[in-house]
Every structure is written in structure tokens, then in C-alpha cells.
């Protein structure tokens, strides 16, 4: 798939924003690390709103005909993309009301404050799920058609959100042990889930150029794709990373997105790192940004089979696992027309 910046920013920033809002509500519910002061709660809620808004605005850049964007709220009964939009829009009034209420009444633990913040949290989490399902429901792209996708979206949203909360606490001073530990834990969970995903997407799918053309008993090779220059299909779907570059980017995801922030926050548990704490969420966001680029660049749509293209960038599964794979048909029939 073509990695489009608009969609990368949408999922990256809004996912992080929703993760931040959910953890902020949780933190004030259970007073983890003493909970946040009203002014900090309002600022962090505002921060979450800014992140979500950056995501939502950048998503409109992906539309070729944005004047009809309002119609995207109408098909929530069948479309995950529509559900995402609806949940995100319902999220706004609760999040804004909570930030305003907390700011003007200095009350973070009253019934109304908790109700508003938790409602915003739940709606944000529903939006992350819808966002994951936009990709996970597509049977045409096997790297996306897995429950690991929404699971990863949650894990990464929580990890970045927790890093922001921990950094905010460290910078403003106060009991930071609980929040920093929570962020470290969530970053590690996200890293493990992402590793499982990378391990899993090398699995061969049952769809090959043979099932695509119906000639199941022999080799099928593309002679001519029938057009002299690229088409919408080749521009949108033919993007391929070479394997070395993909591996390097994966290492970057783990170093920048997970190891870096974890090391910083762990260092803070020893003695305070002060303003340097801000680099933890920034690194996490950068790492997840690279992760999101890979998420699109490594996805291979089955229509590529008709163009004789098969994923060259995809890592192969380890041999011992591949033997158990359901498909006996070789994954790559022919790959000679790049």
C-alpha cells in the first residue's frame, strides 16, 4: 500500500490522543500517583484534544473530494470508517466539557467530572477500536486482516499516552514513580505485541496468482499488464519496501519507539531527569510514526497478484513455523516484473 502521510498522521496522533485521555481518566479514577491536579487535568485533556484534532484534520487531506466528508457519518451501521468518525465526533463534546468543568470548578473527583472524563475515555477507546477495524476487516490485505491490528492500535495508543502522562508528572514534579512504571510497563507490552505482529505477517496467505486467475494446476506468469504506464491500482497498491530497508525500519521502531522512552523513564526512577522527560513521549511518537509508515508500506493488497507482483519486502516466517502453514501452494509463484 502507498503510505499516505494523511492517514499515518490520523492514526498516529488521534490514537495517541485517545490513549492519553483514557489513561488520564483512569489515573484520576484510581488516583494513580495521587491523581492529577485540576489545572493539569485540564491541560492534559486539552493536549489529548489537540492530538486528536491534528489527526482528524490531517485525515481530510486524504480525501479527494472533501466537500462530501460530512456524509461519512451516515453509514455507521455497516462501515468501520463511518463508526470511527461518529465516535470521534461524539468524543469531542465530552472531552471539551470535562476540560472546561475541571478548569472552572477545580473539581477533578466530583461525580460530573468523573462521568465526563470516563465517557470521553470510553468513546476514545471505541474510536481506536474502529480505527483498527478499518484495516482489520479487509480480507484483501492479509497483513491487516488480523485481530493483532486493533490490539496493536490500543497498545500503541496507551503506550504513547502513558509516556505523555509520565513526562507531564516528571516535569511538573510530584510522585512520579507510579506513572513512570505504568508507562514503562505499557511501552513494553506494546513492544511485545508489535513483535508478535511482525512475526505473524510473514505467514503465507491462501490467495495466490493461481486462485486469482483460476488456473490452479500450473504456474501462472504475467506476460503483459496491458497498460503502458502506471494506473490507479499500481500507484495505490504496488508500493514495495526492500527487505533490508524494512528490517532497518523495524529496528528503528523498537529502538526509538520503545527502548528509548523506556530507558529514559527507567533512568527517572533512579533519579529525576527533569525537563529531559519530555523527550520520552516525543521519541515514542516518532517511533510509532515509523511503525505506522511500515504498517502501510508492508501491507500487500491481493490485486498485486494480477500485476505479477508479490511482496518482496515481507519477512519470511521462520522455517519451523512455515511448515505448519495452511497453504501448500508456494507464496511467490513468479516475481520477475517489478
Amino acid at each position: 500500500m502507498k503510505p499516505s502521510l494523511a492517514v499515518i498522521f490520523l492514526t498516529l496522533f488521534s490514537g495517541s490522543g485517545f490513549g492519553l485521555v483514557a489513561l488520564l481518566a483512569l489515573d484520576n479514577d484510581f488516583r494513580i500517583g495521587g491523581g492529577f491536579a485540576p489545572i493539569m487535568t485540564a491541560i492534559l485533556m486539552g493536549c489529548g484534544l489537540v492530538l486528536v484534532t491534528i489527526g482528524m484534520i490531517s485525515s481530510t487531506a486524504h480525501l479527494a473530494n472533501p466537500k462530501n466528508a460530512w456524509r461519512a457519518f451516515t453509514r455507521w451501521r455497516s462501515s468501520w470508517l463511518s463508526r470511527e468518525g461518529v465516535f470521534a465526533m461524539v468524543f469531542y463534546p465530552f472531552a471539551i466539557a470535562d476540560a472546561g468543568w475541571v478548569f472552572f470548578t477545580d473539581d477533578t473527583h466530583g461525580a460530573l467530572a468523573l462521568l465526563l472524563s470516563n465517557a470521553a475515555a470510553v468513546l476514545g477507546l471505541a474510536t481506536i477500536f474502529s480505527q483498527g477495524m478499518i484495516y482489520a476487516c479487509l480480507r484483501t490485505i492479509r497483513q491487516w486482516h488480523t485481530p493483532l491490528v486493533p490490539a496493536n492500535f490500543y497498545a500503541l495508543g496507551f503506550a504513547v499516552g502513558a509516556a505523555i502522562l509520565a513526562a507531564a508528572r516528571i516535569v511538573t514534579g510530584g510522585p512520579d514513580r507510579a506513572l513512570a512504571s505504568m508507562a514503562v510497563g505499557l511501552l513494553l507490552i506494546a513492544a511485545v505485541l508489535k513483535a508478535i505482529y511482525y512475526f505473524w505477517i510473514g505467514k503465507p496467505s491462501g490467495t495466490t496468482i493461481q486462485t486469482a486467475t483460476g488456473f490452479n494446476r500450473g504456474t501462472v506468469r504475467l506476460l503483459d499488464q496491458g497498460h503502458t504506464f502506471g494506473t490507479f491500482l499500481t500507484r495505490e497498491f504496488s508500493n514495495c519496501l526492500n527487505r533490508t530497508r524494512a528490517r532497518r525500519l523495524r529496528i528503528a521502531v523498537f529502538m526509538v519507539g520503545f527502548a528509548g522512552p523506556v530507558a529514559l523513564l527507567a533512568a527517572d526512577l533512579q533519579h529525576s531527569i527533569g525537563l529531559w522527560a519530555i523527550t520520552a513521549p516525543v521519541l515514542a511518537l516518532l517511533g510509532v510514526g515509523i511503525e505506522r509508515f511500515l504498517f502501510f508500506a508492508e501491507a500487500q493488497h491481493v490485486v498485486n497478484l494480477y500485476h505479477g507482483r508479490m511482496p518482496a519486502s515481507l519477512p519470511k516466517m521462520p522455517e519451523f513455523m512455515r511448515r505448519k502453514a495452511p497453504s501448500a501452494v508456494p507464496l511467490v509463484a513468479h516475481y520477475d516484473k517489478g
Binding site: N65, F73, R139, A212, G230, L233
Partner: protein, 231 residues
């Protein structure tokens, strides 16, 4: 009713007449125009509803060239319709034709991601998704003679490799052809349940080549000269 095409891979000669006649009709039809980008330049490209690819099946000497036209399959389980957030994509209940309402489409490309057959192409000029309409504006046009109330590609095909009809009716010509010739749908494992079907090539006795005589010396020299002299 479930209107669709049956494409005979035995007789298709790969001439692209279906694609050009499709373009001709549809560029001034209900989802018009089918924009071309840089049509006379170095990188000609544009919107087409029908694309023909060419494959080699099997390995020499037991190989065969297959010309493979593909357009919208008008799937029963059309996920391009269910994923559409705006309701622009819809499947007509009366005849199963999948269409895009150009006034509602916001150009998010999501339906093209959901389509395994590459049937949908975004028009960069109008910003909307376009696709095969099965020439719905011909099928019910009473101003046309009855025999012309068919998709343009079917009328244009010089090899009669394209058949059009109701695949819900077991007695229709298309249903009979699918039954008799072992017609199949593409990528059945994805469960989109496409309406369009493909008829595999007929099995024929191979042309004998073992009894060809050894080439004469004069012919060998001629072939060698042909190889050596660069034209």
C-alpha cells in the same frame, strides 16, 4: 435478478476492443468522464473500467497464453459497498449491479482497498471513485433496439468471448455456459461471491511437432544469418 458477465478465456484474443469500447461509451455516460492524464505524453494514464492482462499458464512446451479481461465482478458479497462510509457505493437490489453515486463519494479510496479485483479507480479530476456500471444506462434504455441493450464491451467483442445475462436464472445462456464449461469465479477463498464468471480454455489435442523434418543446410545457414545480422 443477478446481472453479470461470463468471459470465455478460450476465445478471448486479447485485442482490448472491450476496454476501448467501454471507455468510449462510459466517458460520456452516467459516471462520465473517464479522465485521462497526460494522454499524448510520456506517461499516459487514466481511468478505465475494464483492463486486460496477459498471462502464460504452464511451462513450455505445455504452456498457453491467456488473455484475461477484468472489470467489476458485481459481487453478491460486495464489501466495497459495506465499507463505504458515505453510502455512495451501493448494490441495486433489483439486478445486483454495484454502482457509485458520484454526488455522494468523498474520494477516500477505502472501497478500492476492499476490492480484491482492482475494479475501482479514483478519478483525480473529479475526486470520486469510478467503476464499471455494467452499462446500466444501456440495459434499460427503450430507445435502443433490444439486441443493443447490453454492455458496450459485450457488443464490441469480435470473438464473442463476452456473454451478458442473468446468472440467477439457471436456464439463461450465461448460466448454462457456466454449467457446461466449468465456469468459475476468481479468488473464491475470499468469499466475495462474484457474479462474473470465467470459462476455462477448452482442452484440445496438441499440435504435433515431433514429426517435423530436420532443417536443411540452406535453412540452417539462413537462420544463422538472420541471428547474426542486426536489424
Amino acid at each position: 435478478m443477478r446481472l453479470g458477465l461470463v468471459i470465455d478465456l478460450d476465445t478471448c484474443v486479447g485485442c482490448h476492443a472491450c476496454a476501448t469500447s467501454c471507455k468510449e461509451w462510459n466517458t460520456s455516460s452516467i459516471t462520465a468522464p473517464l479522465t485521462d492524464y497526460d494522454p499524448y505524453g510520456k506517461e499516459p494514464s487514466g481511468v478505465w473500467f475494464n483492463r486486460i492482462r496477459h498471462y502464460e499458464v504452464g511451462t513450455y512446451p505445455n504452456n498457453k497464453t491467456i488473455n484475461f479481461p477484468m472489470s467489476c465482478m458485481h459481487c453478491e458479497n460486495a464489501e466495497c459497498v459495506t465499507v463505504c462510509p458515505t453510502g455512495a457505493s451501493y448494490k441495486r437490489p433489483e439486478d445486483g449491479i454495484v454502482l457509485v453515486d458520484q454526488d455522494k463519494c468523498m474520494g477516500c479510496n477505502y472501497c478500492s482497498w476492499a476490492c480484491p479485483y482492482g475494479a475501482r479507480e479514483l478519478d483525480r479530476e473529479s475526486g470520486t471513485m469510478k467503476k464499471c456500471t455494467l452499462c446500466v444506462d444501456r440495459l434499460y434504455d427503450e430507445a435502443l433496439p433490444v439486441e443493443e441493450r447490453k454492455p458496450a464491451c459485450v457488443l464490441a467483442c469480435p470473438a464473442h468471448a463476452r456473454m451478458f445475462g442473468d446468472l440467477d436464472d439457471p436456464q439463461s445462456a450465461v448460466s448454462r455456459a457456466v454449467r457446461d464449461r466449468g465456469g468459475y469465479a476468481l479468488m473464491p477463498e475470499l468469499n466475495y461471491n462474484p457474479t462474473n464468471h470465467y470459462l476455462p480454455p477448452r482442452t484440445r489435442a496438441p499440435v504435433p511437432t515431433h514429426d517435423l523434418g530436420r532443417p536443411s543446410l540452406a535453412r540452417k545457414v539462413k537462420e544463422w544469418v538472420n541471428r547474426v545480422i542486426e536489424r
